[in-house]
Amino acid sequence: MSKERIKIAPEFFEIMPPEYQDLVQRATFGKEDRGWKDIGTTKELIEEHSLCAGCPESMAFRYILASLPNPEDTVMVGSTGCTSLVFPHVAVHNIHSLFGNQNAIASGLKRALTVRFPGRIKDVVVLAGDGATVDIGLDMTLQAWFRQEKFTTICFDNELYANTGGQESGLMQKGFVAKMAPVGKTFEKVRLPEIARESGCHYVVQCTVSKPSLVEKVVRNAVFVAREIGPTYLQLYTPCILEIGKNSMEGLQEMRDSEKPTERFAYREYVSDAAKQFLAELAAKEKEKKAAAKQLAAQEA
């Protein structure tokens, strides 16, 4: 999408919603170095949301949207759950379909966009909870990876079915007592990052969303690798503070506690050889660009 398309005819400017006016005047669309530090300077891409106060998922949502390298040509695919309460507030095209079919929807979508816009970059990003990704939709998650579909899958892992009130999910910790796990979950947390690697993903990261710079880095890497090499997967811990008995202010600390080296959300990354080479080339180009800019600035001074 060209930024030209969102321009408003001057005679209609005043009657357009303030969000739209803001999008046109201050959006970071088309800005190459956009990132989480832009949050708060504009209404885009998400200003308000209807999640619980202090919900880590809302933080993750903002960081991800701010980190998209190409939001003006990105379509997101969600699933049923708390994410579907936020997507209506997001100024990027997004699809909510059925529960668990998000990677199948994304497969068709990415292929259609490739047929319709050959030679142009159109990114597709899936964003769904652990129930949709790992339980109901696991077949479609895995098969999209087997087929080497070129999009990024992001799982908001809150270790339970949050939106329906805290039932057992495959990513829940063993022993956790939950609705539908009345004597504690009887099997281990499903090791989806490892399965993702074995299933053909080229870039896999497991982390929390306690550090916005880290989220920005992994989201950008995941989107770039998916665009050029093949499927990528991010598993982000976004605890449901409501269902694990925490207060609004305790979400961040919960994530910090869970990302310690011995804990289950310690940072883990897998990069395939092809992706490593690609990311190294990207980094080299970025370095060259910065050096050139620095040189230019020095000459102008």
Partner: protein
Amino acid sequence: MAEGKSVIGTQNKKGQTYTDPWYMLHEAPRTPSFFTGSEVIKEAIRRASCDVMIAYPITPQSEAAALIGELFAEGYVGDYFRGESEFAVMSECAGAAFGGARVFTTTAGPGTMRAMENFPMWAGARLPIQMIVTCRGINSPLSIQPDTLEISYLLNTGMLVWHAETAQDFFDWILKGYMVAEEPDVHLPLALCCDGFFVTHTKDVVHLTPADMCLPPYDPYRSPVPCMDMECPPVRMMRDPFVMKSNYISYATHASWQQEVWAAVERSRKHTIHWLNGLIDAENTDADILIVTSGTAVSQGREAIRLLEDEGVRCGLVKVKTLRPWPGDEIREATKHAKHIFVPEFNVTGWLAKEIRATIPNSDRVHAGPHVCGGMTMPPEIIVSEIKTALGMRAMSLAGRGS
């Protein structure tokens, strides 16, 4: 966004000429060809300017889905792949249609049922996907033979549902189907059904349009809902989600949208009449006895009428071409003189007879039957027998047939 330029007369990458659909389907010269129904599906898709086809093997549609793979290899279809299950395939079709592609897929029997959650979603999302349904048994114990029970489940999904009698219907209606389904005031998915094996696996003479002509491409910007390609402004879609909010507005919004989907089914009526030359075909409707049916039961009904004529019994015929939109007015008009209406069906429940009974006055005129199911054939003699028995005439027992 749409450029507003006509592509009619220009060529695609395969050298086919984008042709005015009315000319192509009604006036262009046709070549008689001896093909199976599955091969006819391939030939229709060759001319349909399809962007994406997603396949899955389930008998008896597998052959058609595989043949379209050959078209992809030849470069006639933009993309093609095998999905992991019917539910996934229908979801993949949805994704491709959300992205603005002209989409085609096929299914049959239990596959249709496995994918069922997608169909009201397609309709609600206003995705003009065309799906061929080659009907077969859906219930246990296993059957792979033709049985139209699955159509009854499709009737209330919000999709358009047409029921082809022959391979010729199939060829024409696949192409015409896109013309109706993609109208901006319709923009709904189409389930184009046929009776599996009887149509898909038998050879018939089919008159094909020239292979160097094809439909103009789909224009996703004529959709009544935004195309998900970020080519139009990405304003926030809603300030308040429809779901998860226990307030009257969300219920009312959803309810009004459901009604809009069914209003769109109704709006398809005028386009369908235009392209299919009416929602029904009727012959000799002044007769006291009428056979009203759809699919290959129409062909069997024709044979039964010929047998009855030999015995001096005059009988008319109504071929129901579309089930959604439902041709209520047409059936009421066609049956107004009939004293007895027989509805032969290839299913156990008699869903078509129920629809007709709910439509016409004096519905006790409707004889729901004969029914065959589980893949059994329907010899014309059993239709004759049903009619003669109902009229109090002596009917030959089926055991004596052919003796």
